[in-house]
């Protein structure tokens, strides 16, 4: 019988000897009281008084004390109230019945009370178990990740047992990979992995307080689920000495094991789906890309071989033409490879955003400078207000975004139509950059699809891979911004993107400038 059940007020905190002595004493005190109140002849009332006291003792001091009290009472009763007085001898049959009846009733009351107490205790215990289980189920159901699941489970187990709990997750390779405790992730190194592995391998408790690897610092319970042991629950008793885990803890561990298995299965399924998707995209990319790359390569190869084998038979103009074709196609190949590389970097998550204070005016200026020789008759108009604050961005990447958007605009408009780059500040939250063309525009249903990987409009020109806008979107989103397309009023396409402003931006420019001017005056 466990002694740690609460709500058992007296007996639980008192050594059995003390409660026994108290019980007997209570019974013994009754003798002078009975003698004084009822007198020696009123044996019936004295007996009832004794029985009442025994009932009280059995309620408050427990079974053993009440049995002792019953024995003491009966003996005192016999000695002082039954003839012959001051002797344990019993004179008549009638008195024997009184004596026997009293002792029997006393024991009966004690036993009854004891049984009631046990039932109450069992009821309390099962209620407590139910409460803990319910709390655990609720917590497990709310957990969204393995980490959350394990930390919350450890917390619930700690509430239900007098021990600190941690959960070690076992991978498919039978090794332990991660550990969690009530506060979050914990270090695997703090655990006795030998004992944990023993528990996992034998599906039996190991470590402190068990017969297996009992020199460990904690008790390790295997977390068994349908596919085997998914982990191990480590318990470190907060109390003195070693304690075997209670049946409550064991059944909670069972529940945790099933929840962990469920989460692991969901994760595995998701990974598998992702892998399949990646594989699908990869093969689509491979076939599309190899076609797109082979086209310019074929041109380069034949132009080059023409030069090598027939160069002396060609006119100077023909040779120059071949060389120009090689040059153009090589450039195109380079562009294609570059965008492929960019999108790969974006996708693998290896894109690093090196943020620093940058000026959008400069980024736009740098784009214009780069485009100077390839605008090919297109007119580029810019509108960048001079009071746009500095932004925390990666200038190289944002320049890339602008180049891609402008390239896209070039491809979809004829040379007389100007392309506009506009920067505007919206509130204190963000800067909006727009690239506006007045070209052919696209179908409304394509407005969102053009950002998809390898998406090309039906009338696509210029032979890109359909990655430019995908890359732009990836970069903008990596900066915490948003990108979208809309129709330019009057025809054409406008692509806009936002970049978050930072509250602590240096500037504003004009003030800084004046400040410095003022500071410069006396010395200048």
């Amino acid at each position: 019988m466990s002694t740690k059940v609460a709500k058992d007020p007296w007996t639980s905190r008192m050594p059995a000897v003390v409660s026994g002595v108290l019980g007997s004493a209570a019974a013994a005190i009754l003798t002078p009281v009975g003698m004084f109140v009822f007198g020696r002849e009123d044996t019936a009332n004295v007996a009832i008084l004794h029985l009442f006291t025994i009932a009280l003792v059995s309620i408050y001091l427990g079974y053993r004390a009440s049995i002792l009290a019953a024995v003491t009472s009966t003996l005192c009763f016999d000695y002082f109230f039954l003839t012959p007085y001051h002797s344990f001898a019993i004179a008549s049959g009638r008195e024997l019945v009184t004596f026997g009846g009293m002792f029997g009733t006393a024991v009966f009351i004690s036993t009854l009370n004891e049984r009631l107490r046990k039932q109450a205790k069992a009821a309390r215990q099962s209620e407590r178990r139910a409460e803990h289980h319910y709390a655990l189920i609720k917590a497990l159901a709310e957990a969204e990740s393995l980490e959350e699941l394990c930390t919350t489970a450890a917390q619930q187990i700690e509430l239900a047992s007098n021990a600190t709990a941690s959960i070690l997750i076992r991978g498919r390779d039978s090794g332990f990979h991660r550990a969690f405790r009530a506060g979050g992730a914990s270090a695997l190194e703090t655990e006795d992995l030998g004992a944990a592995e023993w528990a996992a391998a034998h599906l039996e408790a190991a470590g402190l307080g068990t017969r297996n690897v009992s020199n460990a610092g904690a008790t390790y319970l295997p977390l068994c689920a349908a596919r085997g042991c998914v982990g191990v629950l480590a318990l470190r008793s907060r109390g003195e000495g070693s304690q075997r885990p209670s049946s409550l803890t064991v059944s909670m561990a069972q529940q945790v094991a099933m929840a962990i298995e469920r989460t692991l299965l969901t994760d595995e399924k998701r990974t598998a789906q992702l892998d399949a998707e990646t594989e699908r995209i990869r093969s689509a990319v491979l076939s599309s890309v190899s076609h797109d790359l082979r086209a310019p390569l074929a041109v380069v190869a034949s132009a080059a071989s023409t030069l090598v084998e027939h160069g002396d038979r060609l006119h100077a103009r023909g040779r120059a033409e071949m060389a120009r074709i090689i040059n153009d196609e090589a450039r195109r190949l380079n562009e294609l490879l570059k965008s492929l590389l960019d999108v790969t970097r974006l996708q693998s998550g290896s894109l690093r955003v090196n943020r620093d204070w940058e000026s959008l005016e400069e980024v736009v200026g740098s784009v214009l400078h780069r485009l100077d020789e390839r605008a090919g008759g297109h007119r580029l108009l810019t509108n960048v207000p001079s009071d746009v604050p500095l932004l925390q961005i990666d200038a190289i990447l944002i320049e890339q975004v602008l180049l891609n958007l402008v390239d896209n605009a070039f491809k979809h408009s004829v040379s007389e139509q100007p392309i506009e780059i506009e920067v505007a500040v919206r509130g204190t939250e963000s800067a909006v950059v727009s690239v506006i063309d007045h070209g052919t525009g696209i179908h409304p249903f394509e407005l969102t699809r053009i950002f998809d990987k390898f998406y090309r409009t039906d009338d696509s020109v210029g032979g890109g891979l359909g990655l430019g806008l995908t890359i732009a979107r990836g970069i903008v989103e990596a900066h915490g911004g948003r990108i979208w397309a809309e129709e330019t009023p009057g025809g054409g396409l406008t692509i806009q993107f936002t970049l978050p402003l930072s509250a602590s931006a240096p500037g504003p420019f004009l003030n800084m400038e004046r400040l410095e001017e003022a500071a410069a005056k006396p010395g200048a």
């Binding site: 090589a330 450039r331 380079n334 570059k338 590389l341 090196n354 620093d356 204070w357 940058e358 000026s359 005016e361 400069e362 980024v363 736009v364 200026g365 740098s366 214009l368 400078h369 780069r370 485009l371 100077d372 020789e373 810019t382 960048v384 001079s386 500095l390 990666d394 200038a395 190289i396 944002i398 320049e399 180049l403 931006a505 240096p506 500037g507 420019f509 800084m512 400038e513 410095e516 001017e517 500071a519 410069a520 010395g523 200048a524």
Partner: protein, 240 residues
């Protein structure tokens, strides 16, 4: 032809060397090559080149670590050549003592333009009398601390002058923001990128006709600034 400037090409791709050497020799340069960083340092010691073209992707050692080793042996300009994936290496190489960069693939005219700028600035290092830098119709007098456009003087604050002077001393070469910060405010300000942006903004408004489409103070994203003088305006922008 035999006494033209000496150029050392550090590159491990033999075909690339052949392409460059062919064009450079037609221009009257004498060309030597080294396939490894180790060889490069030795060649610098023995040949004393006038300019070094250094590919950052070398087989034996990190191209970045070759820059200071070469710099320790010569004051000749170093132009680093990098593939596109090495954006951040470019800044490091420039801060470590390289003078300019080229991103692969680049055209031969571009290469020749960079080499001319490099050789000119080397000539100026020897010739300390060069104190006036002209760009467009501007003249920047480094000693007199004056900027004039035609006859009209342009007022510059001391900080603006320092920035412009630093750029002018390396005219047509890229100057990293780190170098600009160090030379203008001192090394304690090396991380205050925002300062540069703020002052360049003001400077562009004083010098450029269209500050959003600068002709002279050209920003190179992620690297720094270049003061483009009219002489080399024909240099094509960096093709990416």
């Amino acid at each position: 032809m035999t006494d033209g400037p000496v150029i050392l090409i550090v590159e491990d791709d033999r075909k690339m060397i052949r392409v460059f050497a062919a064009s450079l020799e037609t221009e009257g340069y004498r060309v030597f090559d080294a396939g490894t960083g180790q060889r490069a340092v030795e060649e610098v010691r023995t040949r004393n080149p006038d300019l070094i073209l250094l590919d950052l992707g070398l087989p034996d050692m990190d191209g970045l670590s070759v820059v200071p080793q070469i710099r320790a042996n010569t004051t000749a300009p170093i132009i680093v050549v990098s593939a596109r994936e090495q954006e951040s290496d470019k800044v490091k190489a420039l801060d470590a003592g390289a003078n300019d960069y080229l991103t692969k693939p680049f055209s031969v005219p571009e290469l020749l333009a960079r080499i001319r700028v490099g050789l000119r600035s080397r000539a100026q290092v020897g010739d300390t009398a060069q104190t006036v830098v002209a760009f467009g119709d501007y003249r920047l007098d480094l000693d007199g601390r004056r900027l004039t456009r035609g006859e009209r003087p342009i007022r510059l604050s001391p900080t603006e002058f320092k920035l412009l002077a630093t750029l002018a001393r390396h005219a047509d070469e890229v100057v990293t923001t780190n170098t600009l910060l160090k030379e203008t405010w001192g090394s304690a300000y090396r991380t205050r990128n925002g300062y540069i942006r703020v002052y360049m903004h003001a400077l562009r408004r004083k010098i450029e006709d269209d500050p959003t489409h600068p002709m002279y103070l050209v920003n190179e994203a992620g690297l720094g600034y270049r003061l483009c003088t009219s002489q080399y305006r024909s240099v094509p922008a960096v093709d990416h």
